[in-house]
Symmetry: C2
Subunit: 210 residues, 2 copies
């Protein structure tokens, strides 16, 4: 029985709902429809930050996500993708981090496939990094998420410390963004692989929109 006089000894069960995860679509029932994600104010990328394991860019903009307003805060890159869909990793995963007024976190993750030509805005970010620019990149990225985003919706955590839980994930499997082999190679040369290990699902439900 729970002892209210021994509260310091209560077990702490954190760490059971972590990200990233692998998803097997054959185990999910797909819904027809899009992820409930609507950009309200165009996203702009501002300051480019080298944090040692990735490039992070501060941002501004806002979106309505499953009925609530969120502020876009920052974007950063993981290579290869952290989330694994049907056993496959993408070469790149872009995390667009959002926060709302009570502090709920929502990451819109773009699962980026190979493309033949270099992605222009990503190249601008690379060139800016190479030049050691300290001026803001000031990049409008309203086209990165598609007009009809599909993919997955689930509850997990940040994938870097403090690994906070209660983070809502929208995994967008059809972004208007591809990346060339040269660009992936550049990223890996500078940052290595920055994908966190897969975490157990522990019974969580995943919504699948397609």
């Amino acid at each position: 029985m729970l002892d209210y006089n021994q509260q310091d000894k209560w077990p702490n069960g954190f760490g059971e709902l972590q990200s990233p995860i692998k998803i097997d679509t054959s185990k999910l029932s797909a819904k027809r429809g899009q992820l409930n994600y609507h950009v309200l104010e165009d996203y702009r990328l501002k300051q480019e930050i080298d944090d040692g394991t990735t490039i992070r860019l501060t941002g501004s903009g806002s979106a309505e996500i499953f009925g609530r307003n969120f502020e876009f805060q920052q974007a950063h890159f993981h290579s290869p993708s952290e989330h694994v869909i049907n056993g496959r990793r993408c070469p790149l995963e872009i995390h667009m981090v959002h926060k709302n007024v009570i502090g709920q976190l929502c990451v819109v993750a773009l699962l980026v496939e190979h493309g033949e030509t270099p992605n222009a805005p990503f190249q601008k970010i690379i060139d800016n990094y190479e030049k050691g620019e300290t001026e803001p990149v000031d990049l409008n990225i309203k086209d990165w998420a598609p007009w009809y985003p599909v993919g997955f919706h689930y509850l997990g955590s940040l994938t870097t410390p403090p690994l906070t839980e209660g983070v809502e994930w929208l995994l967008v499997s059809n972004p208007d963004f591809t990346v060339s082999d040269d660009q992936v190679e550049w990223f890996r040369k500078h940052f290595g692989k920055d994908d966190r290990k897969l975490q157990p699902l522990n019974g969580r439900s995943i919504e699948f929109y397609k």
Copy 2:
């Protein structure tokens, strides 16, 4: 720098966004309006469970809460109230626990004041307990939350183990529910005080609707 080859050593920062908390309204700017909480399907209480520190009742019903649909899961009681508003505790706090399709948890907490007469549905729950009834109480509690709920909205945790974070709290300060001194005395005699210690706010924002 984050070492992706030493992921097991990453610091784990859980435990910073816990519940209950104390709220000082003089530090908040109030919004005119109600908490975004709308019952869709009447709540019914079913099986009554003595869990040693409180009475818990399984339930059914559904609500729209800040733009998402939630299923009502269970209700239980804390005495005195766990949340403290302007230095004051209420004699009773009722937790109505909800879950949505991706597993987000939302607790609608009724901050219950003293009343002269015994509360009829709470008395039915007490009488059922005293009789050791194993039949469901089958109580419709659509009237417990007011038609225009006001109070507080913030992000915290469960107040009993596993103390899971990412729990959304709606603290309703004007429930259609009061409790008599005799009823509180009965509850304390059977369960003692079951309020978790106050937890640090750690910079969280609280929405205040009135």
